[in-house]
């Protein structure tokens, strides 16, 4: 609730105000009074001091004047004749009153007749023109001079002169005695006292400096006025300090006695009182705050509790109960609250039971979110959901939107009947919807009655009634028309039957001429019809087929499979297409595609199946061939790329040797000895030769692979060819091996490719020599037998390891134990290719470090292959 002040805050502030105001007022008033009292007290004291001082000063001057008067009496009585007597008197006076510096006795003419202290130089000195003489003599009265600094003492002094019968008596009085008075009566440590003469010049001061420098009191005029009111001068600035000032004036002389007291010192008691007051106020404030918070909390706690509990209740938790508090009124409120909650609880229970245990379907919907927020079990059961699922229903779905009438105004009570689908069945629902406005928002309460049965019953009755009426009407009409129609009908039926017969024989002919086997089986799997093509396929006549069962005509397991497929077709009342085997009249298995359809009568009962099939055996064979061709192509491609990468490697090694040697020859050839020079040219030559051989081999293989001009046989004398190859190999081998040639060929001519045969022989023989130790036996045996040519090459060499045998014929493959024996790894693949081009085969048998035998068998083809040419 914004805008309203909080009760707790208001209560708290009230406590503060009520307690704090008297404390503040009391403190301020007492401070004010006390300060005034102290101030007045200080001033009064100072005024008194000033007055006392004035009296003292007056007494001091009067004392001196008295001394002069005594002298005057003495002079008047004695007639001033005996100067020595006078001198004695003077000395007595001077002894009593130390304030006199000098006393002069003047005659009526103003000349000095006597003086003390006595100085003969002054006798006869003429003072007739001086003020003190003229004024005293003229006025015949006591004269007080202005203060002045007496040169002999350098102290402030005055002249007091009185008349006597014989002239004037004048005394110079030093005023230093005044300072003693001031020091005696000074009121405080930091106070100053001063005496200023009628013109304001200081003649005495606690700070003597001011006297010596003849400083002037500037406020004298002010003081003169103030003295009359006797109120003192509360605040004056003096020596840059605020001071409390009191002044009193000395009678006759008109001197001012001034007492200055430092305000701080004078008012020190006020300061202490103020500190005490502040402390008291602070403590009171803390106490007040503590007290106020405590009281406020105690009083507002039950209210807060009630608010919290009420919130709980309003959010739907009715288990609320508040405990008693300190104050009677609150306790009554709490009792009433608890009673109220109990009542609410009872009613809540009552309504919940009404909602949840009701057999009528009831729902509560949030109008803003359009969500169901509660549903009773009857409603949940109706929708076949649990309460949670109900809450997640999408009301916008077509079937629900009708029920919840989402487009309508939710502020009115509504009663409507809808037809919709619930759980896949059509329902008629009588719905009562009423709005509930709650603080949390706007809700709708729905009561649903399933009136499907009632509506359906009503409809049925309605329909039944109208059908009955219609029927009666129809029957009446029909009876009258029936007789006329009957005659026409009979004629029509005859015509239709004729047509039908024609059509049937037409379709039978069509089906017979279709070059696809077609058959019909009934529900007992018995053949009821088929076409000519089917007869042909199965190898039986129509008469032999019709009336026979599937299992009699078709062998297992095919018959069972077909029967199972028929069953599934009839079940689904559909058409069917599948690929399977079919045994034909000759017992060959054909790949076929079946196409079948279920035969269904108008009333829905199945009567059998009709089927046909298509022979796809040829297609299948073709497909397989294409696949094989593709595989071969792939294999060839892989072989090619491996061949290229290996070939490039094989070329790089001799190229490196060539480049290295060329570099060396270029850099150092000229300064090298001949032997070293030729070593490198030889190396270049050897590498070039190796590369040439390699290239020849590769070209040979490439030719063989491509099949162009690869095989051109002609009749050759094989024995002679073998001898020639043997000889050339022997030369290369430097006669370090024993070579043997066994031939059973005689001088027969054979239809072979001479070039390829030479490749075969020279590769096998040079390998045999290369991989055999010096002195080993290498043997070539050639023979022909039963239309086949046998060539065997055996050695006593290093042999071939078992794990390498399968790769041995691959291009560039070299067995590990070949080690550093030079070779391209192409020889055997050339041999293999050459043999294959002749349609022959090559095998080998080998044991490590014992020897190897390669065996070649070539079939001898062509007319007169093994021709004896006159040998």
């Amino acid at each position: 609730m914004k805008g309203f002040p909080k009760f707790r805050n208001a209560l708290f502030l009230s406590y503060i105000w009520v307690s704090l105001i008297p404390i503040l007022v009391l403190a301020i008033v007492s401070l004010y009074l006390l300060a005034g009292y102290v101030e007045n007290n200080a001033l009064e004291k100072n005024n008194l001091v000033a007055e006392l001082t004035a009296n003292e000063v007056s007494t001091f001057i009067q004392g001196n004047l008295n001394s002069l008067n005594i002298l005057k009496e003495a002079l008047n009585n004695s007639g001033s004749s005996d100067q020595k007597e006078i001198q004695k008197l003077l000395q007595a006076i001077l002894g009593n009153h130390g304030s006199f510096e000098n006393i002069f006795i003047l005659n009526r003419q103003g000349t000095v007749t006597n003086l003390i202290p006595y100085n003969p130089l002054f006798i006869g000195f003429d003072f007739s023109t001086n003020d003190f003489f003229t004024q005293t003599a003229a006025g015949n009265r006591t004269y007080f001079s202005q203060s002045f600094i007496f040169p002999l003492t350098n102290l402030p002094s005055i002249i007091i002169a009185i008349p006597y019968d014989g002239g004037v008596i004048a005394g110079i009085i030093t005023l230093s005695g005044l300072n003693e008075i001031l020091n005696k009566i000074r009121p405080g440590e930091s106070s100053n006292a001063a005496i200023a003469d009628a013109k304001g010049a200081f003649i005495a001061h606690t700070d003597l400096q001011k006297v010596r420098q003849r400083e002037i009191e500037e406020n004298l005029g002010l003081f003169r006025q103030g003295s009359r009111t006797n109120s003192g001068f509360r605040w004056l600035e003096y020596d840059n300090k605020n001071v409390l000032t009191s002044v009193s004036f000395v009678k006759n002389l008109n001197w001012a006695i001034i007492i200055y007291q430092d305000e701080k010192e004078a008012l020190a008691p006020v300061k202490n009182i103020r500190s005490l007051t502040y402390l008291g106020m602070a403590i009171s404030l803390i106490l007040v705050l503590f007290f106020s918070i405590r009281r406020t909390y105690n009083i507002t706690r039950p209210v807060s509790k009630l608010i919290a509990e009420t919130k709980r209740v309003s959010s739907g938790d009715y288990s609320s109960k508040v405990e008693c508090e300190l104050y009677d009124e609150f306790n009554k409120l709490i009792d009433e609250f608890n009673l109220m909650i109990e009542n609410i609880q009872q009613r809540e229970k009552h309504f919940s039971s009404l909602f949840y245990n009701n057999g009528t379907k009831m729902l509560l919907m949030d109008n803003s979110s359009m969500k169901i927020i509660d549903a009773n079990p009857a409603a949940a059961e109706f929708f076949s959901m649990n309460a949670e699922e109900m809450k997640n229903i999408d009301i916008n779905r077509a079937e629900y939107s009708l029920i919840f009438n989402i487009s309508s105004d939710k502020n009115d009570v509504q009663n409507y009947i809808v037809q919709t689908r619930v759980n896949n069945s059509d329902k008629y629902l009588d719905i009562y919807a009423a709005p509930i406005e709650l603080r949390e928002g706007s809700f709708s309460y729905l009561i649903i009655h399933d009136i499907t049965d009632r509506i359906l019953a009503e409809k049925e009755v309605e329909e039944y009634k109208s059908r009955l009426e219609r029927l009666v009407e129809e029957r009446t009409n029909q009876l009258s028309v029936a007789n006329e129609k009957l005659a026409l009908e009979l004629e029509n039926v005859r015509r239709i039957e004729e047509n039908l017969r024609d059509q049937l024989s037409f379709f039978a002919k069509v089906i017979d001429t279709v070059p696809v086997p077609i058959f019909i089986r009934d529900m007992n799997r018995v053949y009821v019809d088929c076409n000519k093509f089917f007869e042909h396929y199965i190898g039986k006549t129509r008469d032999e087929i019709i009336g026979r069962s599937l299992f009699e005509l078709i062998p297992e397991p095919f018959a069972s499979k077909y029967a199972a497929m028929d069953d599934s077709l009839i079940n689904l009342r559909n058409i069917q297409s599948y690929e399977y085997k079919f045994p034909d009249a000759d017992g060959r298995l054909k790949d076929v595609i079946f196409n079948k359809a279920a035969l269904i009568k108008a009333d829905g009962t199945p009567v059998g199946i009709i089927g046909s099939f298509q022979d796809i055996t040829e297609h299948k064979l073709m497909e397989e061939e294409i696949k094989k061709a593709l595989d071969k192509e792939k294999e060839l491609n892989e072989l090619k790329s491996r061949f290229i990468s290996t070939t490039s490697h094989e070329f790089r090694t001799p190229l490196t040797a060539i480049l290295s040697s060329a570099d060396l020859l270029e850099m150092y050839g000229r300064k090298w000895p001949e032997e070293k020079y030729y070593k490198h040219t030889g190396q270049i030559r050897r590498s070039v030769k190796y590369m040439t051989e390699l290239l020849d081999d590769i070209l040979t293989i490439s030719r063989a692979e491509s099949g162009i001009d690869a095989f051109s046989p002609g009749y050759i004398n094989l024995h002679e060819v073998c001898s020639e190859v043997m000889e050339s190999v022997r030369v290369k081998a430097n006669e370090k091996h024993i070579l043997r040639f066994d031939s059973q060929l005689g001088k027969n001519y054979f239809n072979l490719d001479e070039k390829l045969i030479r490749q075969i022989l020279s590769n096998l023989l040079s390998n045999a020599i290369k991989y055999s130790p010096d002195g080993g036996m290498v043997r070539l045996s050639v023979s022909s037998h039963a239309g086949r040519l046998h060539i065997d090459v055996s050695d006593e060499g290093i042999g071939i390891a078992e794990e390498e045998k399968k790769n041995l014929m691959l291009p560039f493959y070299r067995a590990r134990n070949a080690g550093t024996i030079p070779g391209t790894g192409l020889g055997l693949s050339i041999v293999k290719k050459s043999v294959e081009l002749h349609g022959g085969e090559i095998f080998f048998d080998s044991r490590l470090n014992a020897g190897t035998t390669f065996s070649i068998i070539i079939p001898l083809t062509g007319d007169g292959n093994e021709e004896n040419s006159g040998g």
């Binding site: 490196t656 480049l659 290295s660 060396l664």
Partner: protein
């Protein structure tokens, strides 16, 4: 005098490299296969190894792995000299721990410069 070991199954290449490096006052050790090469490394501790990859028996990669697994030979720089010029092979050689991968045929001056740089 710095020692260089050349491991290659081609006699021509071993001999050419021996002549070339000999001219530059290196002490050249040669091996015709990897096993022999490893024995020489352990005995003579060469400053640098030039090694072929495709050799009968132990190949260049296995040879490098054996050297790297031995703390005494791990730090010896090894240059692959090989006919295998595919990019993938070069990357494999470098990641195996060779300091350089030279494809055959190589330029003699370039090889000398690389050796000098490594020995610096």
């Amino acid at each position: 005098m710095k020692k260089i070991l050349v491991v290659d199954d081609s006699e021509d290449i071993v001999s050419s490299l021996a002549d070339l490096l000999g001219e530059f006052n290196y002490l050249v050790l040669t091996a015709r296969n990897a096993s022999e090469g490893i024995t020489i490394v352990q005995e003579h501790h060469p400053d640098i190894i030039l090694c072929d990859i495709l050799m009968p028996g132990v190949d260049g990669y296995e040879c490098l792995e054996m050297l790297k697994n031995n703390p005494q030979t791990r730090e010896i720089p090894l240059i692959f000299l090989t006919a295998r010029a595919e990019k993938a092979e070069i990357e494999k050689g470098i990641s195996a721990g060779a300091v350089k991968y030279l494809t055959k045929p190589f330029d003699s001056k370039e090889l000398l410069k690389i050796i000098e740089d490594i020995l610096k």
